[in-house]
Symmetry: C4
Subunit: 285 residues, 4 copies
Amino acid sequence: MSRPSEQSPAGGFRARLHTVIFEADTPAGKAFDVALLWVIVFSVAAVMLESVASVRVRYATALSVAEWAFTIIFALEYVLRLVAVRRPLDYMRSFFGVVDLMAILPSFLSVIFPGAQTLLVIRVLRLLRVFRVLKLGHLLGQAEVLMTALRASRAKITVFLGVVLSIAVIMGALMYMVEGERHGFDSIPRSMYWAIVTMTTVGFGDITPKTVLGQFIASVLMIMGYGILAVPTGIVSVELAKASHVSLDTQACPGCGKQGHDLDARYCKACGTVLDWAVSRSESR
Amino acid sequence: MSRPSEQSPAGGFRARLHTVIFEADTPAGKAFDVALLWVIVFSVAAVMLESVASVRVRYATALSVAEWAFTIIFALEYVLRLVAVRRPLDYMRSFFGVVDLMAILPSFLSVIFPGAQTLLVIRVLRLLRVFRVLKLGHLLGQAEVLMTALRASRAKITVFLGVVLSIAVIMGALMYMVEGERHGFDSIPRSMYWAIVTMTTVGFGDITPKTVLGQFIASVLMIMGYGILAVPTGIVSVELAKASHVSLDTQACPGCGKQGHDLDARYCKACGTVLDWAVSRSESR
Amino acid sequence: MSRPSEQSPAGGFRARLHTVIFEADTPAGKAFDVALLWVIVFSVAAVMLESVASVRVRYATALSVAEWAFTIIFALEYVLRLVAVRRPLDYMRSFFGVVDLMAILPSFLSVIFPGAQTLLVIRVLRLLRVFRVLKLGHLLGQAEVLMTALRASRAKITVFLGVVLSIAVIMGALMYMVEGERHGFDSIPRSMYWAIVTMTTVGFGDITPKTVLGQFIASVLMIMGYGILAVPTGIVSVELAKASHVSLDTQACPGCGKQGHDLDARYCKACGTVLDWAVSRSESR
Amino acid sequence: MSRPSEQSPAGGFRARLHTVIFEADTPAGKAFDVALLWVIVFSVAAVMLESVASVRVRYATALSVAEWAFTIIFALEYVLRLVAVRRPLDYMRSFFGVVDLMAILPSFLSVIFPGAQTLLVIRVLRLLRVFRVLKLGHLLGQAEVLMTALRASRAKITVFLGVVLSIAVIMGALMYMVEGERHGFDSIPRSMYWAIVTMTTVGFGDITPKTVLGQFIASVLMIMGYGILAVPTGIVSVELAKASHVSLDTQACPGCGKQGHDLDARYCKACGTVLDWAVSRSESR
């Protein structure tokens, strides 16, 4: 995310600001991140507490004060971020730019539109800002392994979701026929909801089959569903096993064009050519 | 599924039709598949919406018109398919031939037998037609890996299902004795339904043990069941691992002793030495 | 299970009987097994149907006749088994000997003690006899892989069960304190039942936390429990992976005493000595 | 835990006491451990029984006597432990020192503060003392494999927990908006409790979505949650696989080309040829 800041005198302040706000390898940058983390956590906690009726009534003033304090802090931070980056519009349109704006907008909007109070729940999305900070933390490597594993399984997971949805549709229609409206299966969409509740082994029990045939179909669905849902676990296990072994390097060999070299490879495993990007990389460290 | 169509003048039109309808590697074939996919999805959505009581009452006419439009499209497509293949009877008796027929029959039957309205739910099976189209898509490879994994585990899964069913029968009979009709366990089949609900960790809660002994047996069943149900996950994981060949070579380079080369590596990635065991291996094949 | 029957004239009939009843590699033996399998399945189905109140009332006579027919068949089979084996007492005291006796006893006991009607449910244990027959089937190999995997994990599973039970006791006591009798947690054993229902992700919902603190503890237990219950799945996966690769051979090399050779090994992998038991085995096939 | 006790005449009694109480490799030490194990189990069972209202009323005296007997035994043991160790303060401040004290304190405190009766549930923590004894048992190795697997996954599990909590917060806020107080989602914390109940597939069913939109979001959460929760299983599987070294050599024999040799194989198991890569590997180490 951080690009090398140029040393021109004009950009000196901006560069230093950028280092503090966007990076975490200086003491000031680290302190800023930790402070921001706590403000985010407290602001989300305040939103959560405000949703509890008894707390909302008793501590109305305190919560309102806290909310405006958080909003002002986030607004200030947002302005600083706009100043710190060279292309503010690019930042504003980026994912985290939108998240940062959404952290301050609801409070201001609630003044203009008093009826939009319930939309204040959107403030809980401030939590997403935590990930911006954590991204700079030491957990990055682990998160990347997990993400790589999930991304590599994307195609398999798509097939899997298609099969799960198809079974939900067909089983839902079947149960709608067999059990009918008397037993809570009052439409195919609702029956599909039941089928997903059953297949994922959640089993709320708000809708349950009452007829013998319905209970038999449900039994089949449960056992079948369990087998099917073993698939994502298997997929993730295998991909995790791969991700914790194999390389993420996407560079091609200059000699033969072969890809898939390990991160520590210095010679092409197919033709023995020196992988110069590997050498330059280890020198740049 | 697609066989090379011969270039005789008589079969020219049929061959071109076959290419469009049954194959997907020409622009026309691809467009046909995508269009068909959307018609299927909309027709299934219409069936689902029709099952919602409030929608059915308000949009009765619109749904009826849509239904007949879909039926006519599918009927037309069915006729075209019959024309396009060389042995129509073989097609009609194939799995997808029957599915294609079932997509149009219910609507026509509902005119002849007005009482068969509820059987229109069968129309939801149109969804199966999606798989015919997807079969030609880019997800085929992934689906095949999953299918191979499941097929390879067939014998293990049969043993597993036998054990699960036996435990369900025996635990069901036990709970029928212990809890009895007062607490909802009013027959062995119903107790078996409860045992499966419990073992698969679905846990609807429509039937629950009330006595101390019953709750103890249920606890044993839950923990036991969890262990047993770890088996399909394990089976699928292992088969998936096999199917996607997660193996890293554990041989050491004769030049520098470095380990962890890929199976297809012919040169050491650390020092560039020829990996002679790799050469000898490929020669011995 | 089958030992080579000697060819003495006296034991000729018994040997032939043994071949039919206990073995499955002759046509007669196979036919006997298949017939027995169906009788067992029907007799268990009859017990299950008898437990359904409406069926019991309407088909009382038919069920009674069927029950006695099954009892007589099993009794006859039991006598034949006693005749066929050389040491009847050993057979009677074996696991399957007891199961075979339990298949016929309940019916006879119900004549002597009319009050023991409910104990007839024991007849459902006839189902266990299926495993005797299946043991001779082609699924044996797969079952053995599964059993080997489970047996190899025994020590790990014991540790795991100990941890699960300890968490159940401590969490149960905690919830008993926090939620108390008003919310259904009316004793530590019942709270333990709830903790197991929650940890195994069954979640009946017959007892649920109502206080904020109770729901917080429950949330911790659920997430913690899910992590803990990932352990048996992991254990079984790993053992299955091992079991489907590695040898079950327990023979030691005659040259160096090394154990752990694969089933298809003909030379000791440690010292190169010819494994003569391997040679003799492949010759005996 | 046990350090070699010096042979000075002054420390002779203490050393012998230490051997009996803290170690398990002498007959006396083993007998002490087994006896202690049973006392712990019985004392925990007594606490559990006391929590059952009907038992508490009927066997009040017996339970009180038993409780004091256990307290005296544990107090005596605590004093002996203090005598046996050279630095009693260190022992008192260690984890198991505190657990040992907590095993006797509640009973004494209940005499001084009669109102603290309910706090007697703390006595159930005596169960933790079992682990001190088991630590010396033969299950240590297996427990260590499990602990190693879990510890190695710590960073991944932290990331995972962060993601699960974030989803719970955001989904909880969403459902609080969509379903509202009428359907039981009466605050964000309670909605988060519901989200965790749903994501972990526990599904109590005490709070369930009633609106169509709520049921749709719940369906998405369930399927998404299932995928996410496949992650810990995958993590544990992979770490367990690593911890128990499931690797088979994939090298081919230079003599016959046979693959699948164990990592420690030095001769081809099929033809007896020296596996030179194995030799060169062991030399290069």
